[in-house]
Assembly symmetry: C2
Homo-oligomer: 432 residues x 2
């Protein structure tokens, strides 16, 4: 691989869209939020915040204090000085971001384990209903986990995967599929590849009409798209904190259970953190009331503490302001794609309606695998590749600027025009 | 509560056992290991390493690098630069500590979630066998989780809790209980309250004679007592890394599956980290071969990286040397108890045979709850309280000295002799 970039890395002041980017950045009320992140002004254009958000400056202080003072000096005493309650406390911080109330959200385990716990709990509560409805735009692990949860619930329920055209969610087919045999509807609120945003209110209502529960995976929407869990009466949700919440690599996930359901559902992995009196060490399990009922075992405190600063920032800025910038970034991206990228062979593999689009888009290209490598190595833009032919570009409203997108688009065009990507391997080798 | 200690905090050079402590510390081949921990020479005598181990100095560097460079600067690229393999890599580091081979150990989730996964996998593999054998010395959450796993396996298996006298494990009763109706035997290798060490080889052999599987919880033995998983042919094990491995608060746990079982058991929570080709995003789950098959979702990297230094230190020192010092510390403790503490009303609520005793002991006293508080607040010794009347004292061979134990014993006697503990609340209020 070349040791130095072979491309013009800009700025590109004469190109279409440059003045607009500069103007929008100047008027951006969130422009200063970028200062809250480490290395946000490095030479890298980072468009993968939908996979791993940037490191907030405040996180360093928080993790350092947790490690050196709380663990190193206070030792075991820290369990009584904040650690034990931290999963709920961060849950309270996050609650308004997804329209939930305090006491309805808990930091817990990984997204997959949380999905298992809530899905199995839901399925066990409706053993007479046979069907679990999802779609083929869902993150595939959600399908695996839903099937695992169905096995654990033991009621013979089956996961039915509604087909899509690959970009827009199959709303009508899902609505038609939901019937009085349906136990659970579980979808990604924003789909991981195309960025399609489901109408959470409408599907929740439809499920409730049929007497089914809904379980939303908010991983790609939390912190980028408003989520009206409370207003829509959504039953259950899970999500990760390491994308738009900037919680850190693999940071603990969250789960949401509507308050009136909390004491009616049974956690399928009952552990001492969910016990009503955990330090009595009774041999029999007695569940605590409330959201802690869905805990299992001890939480990883460095990673948990590391998630707090990012979540606090999102909560402080407010999801409406974040969404407004995200929509503007998406519209700008589409305009730039049409002018600079469609002519060189990129398809738009995301919704065109801004109301149905999250904070990332996929651009399709038959040589996307090679392009992704050249883009990273020579253009200093970090995208994602998603099989089979998608270059996935995320725009994180807290630190991505309009100029970031302009620069990224022009560099992408340059990669394809110079065809330097053809020097890169065509075969997928390991993780991209 | 008083603002300054009301006790003589030593040293106590005239007291019985002092010269012996000094001599044993002088001859201790592990004495310098203490320098590898933060604040190990503070005024606190820390006897709760069996609950939360101290912070290794090297952990600070490791977490800092993971946070600032790997996350902050390398961003998403770090997933291909070590993060994805880290759970297996740390597993390889830990393997010799428990007598396992590389590829048999994986860092994953919490101890409770791992116990659920392995127990449910084992139970599903033997649906015709009805019984799960455990005991009442097991950490209670293990009982809750075993019952959860039995529900998930769906074969109607029941957990049978063999009663003990409260200190020694009921070996004979367990051996007698294991029969050809037994699916699984699951015990804590070292019990959490009394520190009793089960004969892992003998019970594993007995279970295998009957055609049952064994699942050991190594939380209180890993890093303090040799565990011969490979030599005994043990089937399954789980354990935590935040006690004698000094992995940090709530650090990710580990799971062990004997190699020949790995591809015969089914992970009950199949997630993308266990997929054969996770980045192809297939809608169907295809399990990878080997130990990664028992992964589920994304691991918390700050906490995972934070566990490595402690585990590396234990592996480098070697479990035999650690055990030798632990036994010596335990014998010294018993001698000191007999001289200084038995006369003032403390019972020995742990095994007397050093071969059957782990690296912590429980001292019973009817006023243990009050004593624990005074001990912490006025004597600067950090113990644990375990219901109903146990003061639990752990000695971590890597950083506790014989003088630590001598000092702790004399201060404990002083608390009881001066009766300053009667100023503290008698009722349990929250976590102690």
């Amino acid at each position: 691989m070349p040791s130095a970039p072979r491309l013009d890395l800009g700025p590109f002041p004469d190109a279409y869209g440059y003045d607009d980017a500069i103007a929008q950045d100047r008027d951006d009320p969130l422009a200063r939020e970028r200062d809250g992140f480490v290395s946000a002004d490095s030479d890298i254009v980072y468009l993968d915040g939908n996979s791993l958000g940037r490191l907030p400056v405040d996180t360093i202080t928080r993790v350092d204090d947790t490690m050196r003072r709380q663990w190193g000096d206070r030792l075991i005493r820290s369990w009584h000085e904040g650690w034990w309650e931290l999963p709920e406390r961060i849950g309270e911080l996050l609650a308004p971001v997804v329209g939930a109330e305090p006491g309805e959200l808990l930091m817990s385990d990984s997204t997959s384990v949380n999905l298992f716990k809530l899905a199995a709990a839901a399925l066990s509560s409706a053993p007479d209903r046979r069907r679990i409805i999802t779609d083929d735009l869902n993150f595939p692990t959600d399908l695996y986990v839903l099937r695992s949860a169905a096995r654990a619930a033991g009621a013979g329920q089956r996961v039915e995967v509604i087909g899509s055209d690959g970009v827009d969610g199959p709303m009508a087919a899902i609505e038609a599929a939901i019937d009085d045999e349906t136990a659970l509807v579980s979808l990604s609120h924003v789909t991981f590849k195309s960025g399609y945003v489901y109408d959470l209110a409408r599907l929740t209502e439809r499920a409730h009409e049929a007497g089914a529960l809904v379980l939303w995976d908010l991983s790609h929407s939390v912190g980028s798209v408003p989520v009206e869990l409370g207003a829509t009466g959504a039953d259950l949700a899970v999500g990760c904190t390491y994308k738009y919440l900037n919680g850190g690599p693999g940071a603990p996930a969250f789960l949401y259970v509507r308050r009136d359901l909390q004491d009616r559902l049974r956690n399928p992995i009952e552990g001492w953190w969910a016990h009503d009196d955990p330090f009595s060490f009774h041999l029999d399990f007695e569940p605590i009331t409330g959201i802690r009922r869905f805990h299992t075992g001890t939480m990883p405190m460095l990673s948990l503490a590391g998630a707090e600063a990012g979540i606090a920032q999102v909560a402080a800025v407010g999801i409406e302001a974040i969404r407004a910038k995200s929509v503007a970034l998406g519209c700008y991206m589409e305009q730039q794609w049409r002018r600079h990228l469609e002519p060189v062979g990129f398809g738009w593999a995301s919704p065109t309606d801004p109301n149905r689009r999250g904070s990332h888009v996929s651009l399709s290209h038959p040589e996307a695998w090679q392009i992704a490598q050249a883009y990273r190595e020579e253009a200093m833009v970090l995208p994602d590749f998603r099989s089979p032919d998608n270059l996935r570009l995320g725009f994180a409203p807290l630190y991505n600027s309009f100029l970031d997108l302009h620069t990224a688009v022009l560099r992408l065009r340059a990669v394809v025009e110079t065809r330097i990507h053809v020097d890169y391997p065509t075969e997928r080798e390991g993780v991209s």
